[in-house]
């Protein structure tokens, strides 16, 4: 029985030391951030193949490491690179970026899929991609990116409003605090079992 307890204590100690080792494990990005702005396409949305310019792009909402307004002020200005979506683009690095204080947040697009839809004779564009989120002081983390835009049936011109979201999945790397809690949770049943037997 003593052996079990010893092993459990050693395991907890090991996990705790890993957790306290800190930066290497802790610094993955965790959260989601949403933007809005205007996009100018190289033609009407129904036939466009690229966004030639993004303007007036701002942060609207965010959580976790992108929390709005505690970490990232509402309406923070965002730069988005021009983007070819038909045919599907080569990696774009960075696709978007913004800076708050000394922290620069960027997202490198690696893959993308595109869907064009027509509903009630209105045109819709949906983009769905994956990439790598980066931020000063954090580890690079895999994330998802989505963007949608629309153009009404009789609209002329090539400039429309759009909205977008990037999410950095929480499943990638657990936080050290979570590791510590898991270790403690492992120890509790062992201690209880020992007390009961005693």
């Amino acid at each position: 029985m003593k052996h079990y307890l010893k092993r459990a204590i050693v395991l907890v100690g090991l996990l705790a030391s890993l957790a306290s080792a800190g930066p290497a494990l802790a610094a993955t990005i965790l959260g989601q951030v949403s933007f809005t702005g205007t996009a100018t396409f190289n033609g009407p949305l129904s036939t466009a193949t690229a966004v030639t310019e993004f303007t007036n792009v701002r942060v609207e909402a965010g959580t976790g490491d992108y929390a709005v307004p505690s970490l990232v002020p509402l309406n923070t200005s965002v730069t988005i690179a021009s983007l070819i979506f038909d045919p599907l683009p080569a990696p774009v690095a960075p696709l978007w970026s913004f800076t708050v204080g000394g922290t620069e947040y960027t997202f490198d697009l690696t893959t993308m899929a595109m869907a064009r839809m027509t509903m009630g004779a209105n045109h819709f564009l949906s983009l769905s991609g994956t990439g790598i989120a980066r931020a000063t002081g954090f580890e690079d983390t895999i994330g998802d990116f989505t963007l949608s835009a629309q153009q009404a049936v009789n609209a002329s011109g090539t400039t429309v409003t759009f909205s977008a979201e990037a999410v950095v999945p929480s499943a990638t790397v657990p936080e050290p605090g979570v590791v510590g809690l898991a270790a403690a949770a492992l120890l509790v049943p062992v201690l209880r079992r020992r007390r009961c037997r005693a």
């Binding site: 809005t36 609207e60 769905s128 998802d144 629309q150 009789n154 609209a155």
Partner: protein
């Protein structure tokens, strides 16, 4: 001299009547468009939401013609969006959005609304399409088309999303009237030209 003036009047009138009857001078619709964007809260994650419960930071992003940004309407002019249900759609008509610019109040009243929600490459998208009327200072002005889109990544938590929308309204220029004014102008110029010409002739004869 009188004969040629008569001929001019008759031919001008014929041109105006002809053009109006063929429809060239009749109102050729030009569509004004206005783009909006902002943040919204849903009553559930996008994959199973049925309504928008709150719109925040909604503003004008772009526009053309009577809605040209920044010529007629300032960029980022705040817009009031009313919460609405899209599945099933709120009983219409619904006053969807309104904003004021240069003391003129614009309001979109929707008569119909359709929605399409779909999962694409693992992420959720929502498209809305509707029709209604643009009201200007409370008066029904012109029919309008409306479209709206939003999205939520597969791993996203919460019920807050960003969205964008566009409304188009036909703007009817004064086709026939413009042509009549144009013809009157030409006629006036010709009349004065002749008057001057006659005056010069009289002066020469007096000499």
């Amino acid at each position: 001299m009188k004969n040629s003036l008569k001929r001019l009047i008759v031919s001008g009138a014929l041109v105006v009547v002809g053009l109006m009857s063929t429809g060239i001078a009749s109102a050729a619709a030009v569509y004004c468009q206005i783009g909006m964007m902002g943040k919204a809260t849903l009553n559930a994650p996008l994959s199973r939401a049925t309504a928008f419960t709150l719109f925040e930071n909604a503003r004008v992003g772009c526009g053309t013609d009577a809605f040209s940004v920044p010529g007629m309407i300032a960029l980022n002019t705040p817009v009031t969006f009313q919460p609405f249900s899209f599945a099933p759609p709120t009983v219409t008509p619904i006053s969807l959005w309104s904003f004021t610019s240069n003391d003129v109040e614009y309001e979109l009243v929707l008569d119909s609304l359709d929605f399409e929600r779909f999962l694409f490459a693992g992420n959720e998208f929502l498209n809305l399409s509707g029709q209604g009327y643009l009201h200007v200072n409370g008066v029904r002005h012109a029919p309008a088309d409306f479209c709206f889109s939003s999205q939520q990544c597969v791993d996203a938590s919460g019920t807050t999303v960003t969205w964008s929308a566009q409304t188009t309204v036909p703007h009817v220029p004064e086709g026939g009237t413009t042509l009549i004014f144009l013809f009157s102008g030409i006629l006036g110029i010709e009349f004065f030209r002749r008057k001057c010409h006659n005056g010069l002739l009289l002066r020469r004869l007096r000499r």
